[in-house]
């Protein structure tokens, strides 16, 4: 029976067998070896590109599919317990000699509050973000409480903390830039060709 016919019979994608669901997503995917049914999730260190699939139930055809993302290999030092105040800011003036910058911050926690202009020293910024401080740079600033993750895996006591993180926005693509250059050339030619003095 074709997948489409089965879909009509089941009336929902969720009811379809696993192979049929997969074929809808990736029609050219060839079926590999059967997944060994198991109730225990097998975990292994893997690259972020790999995803492990566990079939819950007695066979791959029984229905539900659970997807496990690999554990992050990054060692986390602390975790936010509660963020009580957040701002989004943009740098309007950076003074590298004085090691401080001026920014306008917008209250994300209470949007009706007015914008504020603040002067922040470079020492308050993470070392890894210092190179990102420049006119026009955008950052997030959170204040709240966090807990250290101890070596045993347990959480330490709650402490107040702030964190300023600059956004790393990807550069424009070459294609987009080429398109902009083309559009701007055409617009400029029209403006200069038609301008009246």
């Amino acid at each position: 029976m074709a997948v489409a016919e089965k879909l009509d019979a089941y009336e929902t994608v969720d009811g379809l067998p696993f192979d049929d669901k997969a074929s809808m997503v990736a029609p050219n995917l060839r079926r590999g070896p059967d997944v060994i049914p198991s109730r225990e999730a097998t975990s292994r260190k893997s690259s972020t590109a790999e995803v492990m699939v566990e079939c819950v139930g007695s066979s791959p055809q029984s229905g539900a599919v659970k997807v496990f993302r690999p554990e992050s290999t990054e060692y986390r030092v602390s975790a936010w317990e509660n963020i009580s105040q957040s701002w989004e800011g943009r740098v309007i003036y950076n003074d590298p000699d004085a090691r401080e910058f001026v920014a306008i911050i917008r209250d994300l926690t209470c949007k009706s509050n007015p914008d504020e202009e603040v002067v922040i020293g470079h020492e308050s910024v993470l070392h890894s973000d210092l190179d990102l401080i420049s006119d026009g740079a955008v950052f997030f600033w959170n204040i709240g409480s966090c807990r250290k993750i101890l070596a045993s895996g347990k959480l330490g006591p709650s402490k107040h903390k702030y964190e300023i993180r600059f956004r790393r926005l990807p550069p424009m693509s070459a294609e987009r830039l080429a398109e902009i250059r083309k559009q701007s050339k055409e617009l400029s030619e029209r403006l200069h060709g038609n301008h009246s003095a």
Partner: protein
């Protein structure tokens, strides 16, 4: 005539339109709109003005209509992944250019450069003193470099060109009274750019101003002794728009301006208390912030009316005369 535009911090309505409405002048009466340059505090709300003032000729600095500056505006107004706080200047500029283009020549516009007459009515003439030809070329190179940077560096909001040598300074004369509007034009250190190019021009008008809008918020890099000596009348009235980000004008700047003026008027800002936050947040704030001020939702107004040399100045609560 409307020269540049600004809005109160949390308002979208241009102050100029509010003012015209308050004095009973219809927007259809506006004959000229001048865009001197694209800094936030000079262009915010301009597209709304152009949309409403349908009979006005749009006079835009020639430095903003070259391919490179248009590409710069487009590259910094993508309206995609990240939120641009308060829609900075490049968004307005891109909108203005599209509005002029969309009308396909129905809107009259002038690409402004030095020594162009922007408007003439009876004995009244509005004369552009800048940007110079070389400033236009220089700005093209700078904008092109900034656009290229967009493709290799982490994206951020638009940078301003510094120094500002492409702003449009205006000389306005009605046959008896003369005003000099300095915009944000700066001195360059060379004879072909900035105020030096204005002074070197042999075709600029020669009447001297009794009212002077001080360039670049009173900063030292906007001041020229030669401009004061040759383009201003004796002891003119001077107006300064403050720029708190850079603490302009500095006390020394104010003293300098007071030295050649009969009186100096400044826009000021009222002290606004910041909103109350939890103690824990305030403690963390104090640890991080060296100085802090709330951006108020008020604009300082200085209204000057001049006739036959007699000057009448009115201030709102957010403007003052320098002591």
């Amino acid at each position: 005539m409307i020269v540049d535009s600004c809005t109160a911090a949390q308002s979208r309505t241009p102050v100029a339109l509010d003012y015209l409405e308050s004095i009973g002048v219809g927007v259809e009466s506006v004959k000229v709109v001048v865009i001197t340059h694209f800094h936030d505090d000079h262009i915010r709300g301009m597209s709304a003005i152009i949309e409403r003032c349908v009979n006005a000729r749009i006079c835009i600095s020639g430095a903003l209509t070259e391919q490179e500056s248009i590409a710069f505006a487009m590259a910094h107004s993508l309206n995609d992944a990240f939120s641009d706080l308060a829609k900075p200047s490049t968004h307005e500029l891109a909108n203005v250019l599209r509005m002029i283009d969309t009308d396909g020549g129905k809107r009259s516009y002038t690409l402004v450069s030095e020594d162009k007459v922007l408007h003439r009515s009876g004995t009244s003439i509005v004369h552009a003193l800048s940007p110079s030809d070389r400033a236009l070329v220089q700005s093209k190179l700078k904008f092109d470099s900034l656009v290229s940077d967009s493709a290799v560096a982490f994206r951020k909001l638009a940078n301003k060109l510094s120094p500002n040598l492409c702003a449009v300074a205006l000389h306005i004369c009605n046959g008896k009274d003369t005003i000099l509007l300095g915009s944000d034009l700066e001195v360059s250190g060379t004879p072909y750019l900035g105020w030096e190019a204005v002074l070197a021009s042999v075709s600029k008008p020669n009447t001297k101003a009794a009212l002077f809008k001080i360039p670049h918020h009173g900063s030292a890099n906007g001041h020229s002794d030669d401009v004061v000596a040759t383009m201003l009348g004796v002891k003119p009235v001077s107006i300064i728009t403050t720029m708190n980000t850079h603490a302009l004008p500095k006390p020394s700047d104010l003293d300098r301006v007071k030295g050649f003026s009969s009186s100096v008027f400044l826009t000021t800002e009222p002290l606004v208390r910041p909103p109350a936050r939890s103690r824990a947040v305030e403690e963390q704030l104090k640890m991080v912030v060296k100085r802090r001020r709330v951006i108020p939702n008020y604009i300082g107004h200085i209204r000057v009316r001049m006739l036959n040399g007699v000057v009448n100045v009115e201030l709102n609560d957010n403007a003052k005369e320098a002591a």
